[in-house]
Amino acid sequence: MSMPLVFEKTISTLAIAFTFLILAACGSEGPTDRNFSIDFANGGPVGGVERFTANQGDTIVIDLSTDEAATFHIHGYDIEFAVEAGDKASMELLADATGRFAIEIEESHQHVAFLEIRP
């Protein structure tokens, strides 16, 4: 069989396969509101470093509380929130970009959580 024919068949197989993949990938729920919380105490997040998952388009509220003054920073979205010792605060964002974003304490570069936004 000649080369062009092999590639034709290959491309068609690929096209069919990807159609299935795309169909499988589509169809998710509509945007929802999600609420997460990070409690920073004794030098670390209570409950360990968590992975928050949400879908693209969701509105996300993250409640913050800390026993020492800290600036929480969501990478990627580049949102910063300074919270005083013993204080509480809330970060809100619209999850318009997909990806895996680290949330860390600016001062110590310590990771406290990860935010995963799925398509």
Binding site: M1, K9, T10, L14, L21, D96, G99
Partner: protein, 518 residues
Amino acid sequence: MNMRWQYAAAGLSLAITFLIAMSSPVAAHGFGERYDLPFPLPYYLGGAGLVVALSFVIMGMTARQWEPDDEYPAIAISRGFVGSIMSGTVMTWSVRLIGIFAFVLVLIAGFYGTPVSDRNISVVIIWVVFWVGLAYCSALIGNIWVLLNPWDSIFRIFEAVVRLVDLGRVIPLNRPYPDRLSYWPAFALFLVFAWIESSFSGSSTPTTLATFVAIYSFVTFSGMFVFGRQVWLRQAEAFTAFFSLLARFSPTEVAVTDRTVCETCSSDCEIHQDVCVDCYECYEIAPRETRNLYIRPYATGLRTVERISTSQMAMVLTVLATVSFDGFTATSEWVGFFDRLLPIFDSFGSHTGTVIHSIGLAAMVGVFVSVYIVLVQFVIMASGEELPAESVARKFVLSLVPIALAYHLAHFFSFLLIQGQLVIPLLSDPLGHGWDLFGTADYVIELTIVNARATWLISVAAIVIGHIFAVYLAHMTALKTFTSNKAALHSQYPMLILMVGYTMVGLWILAQPIVNTE
């Protein structure tokens, strides 16, 4: 083998590197944060399934006879008005000047700019534009590095000045390049670069980078001075070797169609059917009518395997290992390995991370080389023909390049689109001193430019297509290497296992949950 030169070159490079090592406790990969989501299971399984299925399809089709044919369709594009402008001196030297400018900018920004890595253009130029962007261009468009190479351009200016003041007979020295050295210097220098990229924790510090660039410039200029510019570039300059390798996959080439011209140029170009392809020295001196720029099918350049040397093979395997290592270090398998080694290498203090990463890189290269060599033995056994293993190994190594390329592209796709945007504010404020030359200094990276689903689809597509090219190339090489078509076909079963395995490793890495190593 040329072990002594290899060790000497590698040892010298490493010694120089360690002498100026300044590290911070943070492990780094080149530079730049990544926001990739790992492949979800359907993509991983779908990709894996496609790879295996298509491999069988191609094997089945090629069981009937394929005639190994060295000819390929090529369209000449540098005639005519537009073509002659594109390949004219003004255009080529404009691109050369861009290369020189970027090089000087890296040095200036590296030494005099801010130490904050994402506010200094030198870091972004090296790790995003150069390492990733240029790799993409070389593989998908053509060997643009030939024009962008600042060391080549600067040395040409030096040569012109030397001719002007008539010192041409004395310098450069033009000593003969020892044949045994072959590509080993390029291999060693590339390994150092790979080490900096994957293991060295100071890899995103501007001054460190500028220092490495300065050292490398000294090495390169010295080499060109002693052995001659073209000789050094072709065999000893790491990035020329790297980008030329990638560019073999690309759909463009330059060719000189007159055999006599090819025979008279200084380097030994491969001449196929009275044409020498991608021989830049010949292209430059050839008369207009005998030279041209061509468009060709992808991966064509990976089929010319007759002259691959052992050192080139080592270089190719190192490129493959390096490209995979970067992604591998984000997996939990690696983190487990890392944590187990931590107490053993504690005595290195803040350098412990670098040491363990270096071991990992060396191990990865070792594994790739060993697996490949063992597999070549199986290939020969399966064919039933008696051929020297070293020669067979050299011939088949290029067929693995599409798999490495596909993984590299998939791995860096969203990185390029996201961190690549840093060029916009950095052009206005390259040194991070608060300038705003073009009004873009306040530009904020747009995350929504790339969607995870698009990245997954493109990644799987790239990996599957890369695999198909690899299987095709290996089969063509087998037909040229073995005397009977049946032997060629049988020889490909072990090769297929290697390729499916290698492609799966790439898919697996992309599907792993990303673990932070800090």
